[in-house]
């Protein structure tokens, strides 16, 4: 365990930034957002960022390759460049977990080199949650917000930041800031964890359980009459999917530049009416079907293919941002009622 006094924290950011770009939550007009640290950047200890660190690994829009065409000829240009090392500081336990979920999509064969290269070069410094919000329910998915993972785990007390490297990359990181840290025992961190866990128990959604869901439950939930009601006022916008740290649906599109064509990938949303419109029509024509797909995916389909791991980390962003306040918690509760019968 390493300790860095809070008064040194800006110094810490500065040292890290000197060797690699450092992204950390900063207060924006809109709330906390991950931004690259620059001299003068103020770190925000907000309980959660508006969007997770997903963008840093799977940006909303990224160029995949370029083409030049002339007459009947085509040239394919690999526009990938070597990703430089970077660090992300202040990632909450839920968001750390979300990366594990994204890994299961992008790093399974065929591996996505764009994502993979960012993952390989990014070092994650997590941070335990001292003041979770009413929307938090990471516990539902077995995540301990007091014990965040990542390359380096970090805890914050009133006067100091405590760090513990979990991986080689994490150790390299802590080495970088060795001058600002001193070794210490676990006592302060243990006390803080205790405190945090107490709060966690009092969270309004602390009792929410996911046991009813999981792989092989397709039959049970797919035909639930609840979907109709739950989805009836869904606007079909992409807010929930775009703020979700685990949503990863994408589209690949071509953009005609003035000189050629850039093929890029951008986030897409299964909530959009055209999402599944393909060569042979659309297999999910109603908002109910699309809505169901999103939640079935998170609660049933994904666990079925991924050792029971849910594709939700309980970060609470969709609770905070859905324009009509429909969210996975309401869905889970409504469906559970259904299974009780």
């Amino acid at each position: 365990m390493l300790k860095c006094t809070l008064s040194n924290i800006d110094k810490l950011f500065e040292i890290v930034s000197a060797s690699m770009p450092l992204y950390l939550p900063t207060e924006d007009k809109n709330g906390a957002v991950f931004k690259k640290w620059q001299p003068g950047t103020v770190w925000s200890n907000a309980s959660n960022t508006v969007k997770g660190p997903k963008d840093l690994f799977f940006p909303q829009s990224e160029d995949l390759m370029a083409f030049k065409t002339e007459g009947k000829k085509i040239e394919v240009i690999d526009t990938r460049t070597e990703t430089e090392d970077f660090a992300v500081f202040g990632v909450r336990a839920c968001d750390v977990k979300s990366l594990e979920i994204l890994d299961r999509v992008f790093l399974t064969e065929p591996r996505d080199s764009y994502y993979a290269s960012r993952r390989e070069h990014g070092v994650i410094i997590s941070l335990a949650c001292n003041r979770p919000t009413e929307n938090c329910f990471c516990g539902t998915f077995g995540i301990d917000a007091a014990e965040p993972m990542g390359d380096v785990s970090a805890w914050l007390t009133d006067d100091a930041l405590y760090l513990h490297a979990n991986t080689e990359r994490g150790q390299a990181f802590t080495k970088l800031i060795a001058d600002l840290t001193e070794a210490c025992d676990d006592s302060a961190v243990s006390a803080q964890k205790e405190k945090n866990r107490k709060v966690m128990k009092r969270l309004p959604l602390a009792d929410l359980e996911a046991n009813a869901f999981g792989g092989s439950k397709t039959e049970q939930f797919f035909h639930s009459p609840q979907w109709e009601k739950l989805s009836e006022s869904c606007l079909g916008c992409g807010t929930c999917t775009f703020v979700c740290p685990t949503c990863q649906c994408y589209d690949i599109r071509d953009f005609k530049t003035n000189n050629g064509v850039v093929r890029y990938r951008c986030w897409d949303s299964c909530m959009y009416s055209e999402f599944t419109k393909m060569a042979h029509g659309n297999n999910r024509n109603s908002q109910k079907e699309r809505f169901r797909q999103r939640f079935m995916h998170k609660l049933v389909y994904f666990p079925e293919n991924n050792d029971g791991i849910f594709s939700c980390v309980g970060c609470g962003r969709c609770l905070a941002k859905c324009p009509i306040s429909m969210n996975i918690v309401k869905v889970m509760k409504a469906l559970e009622v259904d299974t009780d019968d």
């Binding site: 924006d28 007009k29 009413e134 916008c237 055209e274 941002k321």
Partner: protein
Amino acid sequence: MQTVTTKSLCERAASLLGEGTVAAVLGWKRGEFDYDLTPAVFTAAEELTEGFIYNDFSGANLSKYLLKKTREIDGKILVFLKPCDTYSFNQLLSEHRFDREKVYAIGIPCSGMADIQKIRKIVGEGITAIEACENSLLVHTLYDDEPISVSCAEVLTERCLNCKSKKHVAYDELIGDEGEVLTSNRFDEVEKIEALSADERFAFWQNELSRCIRCNACRDACPACTCEKCVFDNPNSGVQSKAPGGEFEEKLFHIIRAYHVAGRCTDCGECSRVCPQNIPLHLLNRKFIKDMNETYGEYQAGEYDNQRAPLVNFSLDDPEPSDVVKGGFDRA
């Protein structure tokens, strides 16, 4: 606090359901907390008692749901409309977007809606309960032993602070007291931006619009955006796009969206309410409204059924574009 109670609305809705006047009720349904209400359709008295709620967080404008619901549901639909919602209602009607015969509109008074984000700014995170009192809200949080009292006025949403009207312009029945059209300061913010230098204005909007994630919530919630297929979703339109990009896409999207609803936008403020990135999108719409008012005479979309909006109208002596741009706010 609202001047009509959930109970009174519930009772009226239940009786209309009971006597068969309406087949369904479009209202707000309580959520996990006191502030996360979801628009919902109720078809039985029990459902209403269990779920219906009208409180300081019933901000969602229900009028747009009529497009879909009047088609889906047989029989009349009761819809609760706050004064500003009635403007959207009228505007949709004049665009022939739903069948008036299928709707039973009940106008309900609104004393302004509370902004949960403003409340969070004051009391912090971890809100567990909110009690409405006469002029204040008592907010219970995870981290405070005692509830924190915030005045309603202090946490009014931006749009309610600049409320244009407490008068209902369309309804079949009114519950509670009718209000009046207000003289609002809704253009103050627009004027503030107009007063900036071009560089500052550009910097302001660049900062705001660059946050756009193209979730389309503004469009999907907007009661004026009711296109069968939005040009931005249409592969044949030439402007289809899904993500912000090149620092241009988001500008195009929001300028064109504002232009497309210009003269049809009732200034209900849903776009800004639903924006997950808190972009003050309503200012774009208000800019158009302000310009049109100043250049072509006062016009309030939705005030009457079947008005002719400024952009589908003209007069022989309209000013030239160069004069409009210069005239309104020449800062030289």
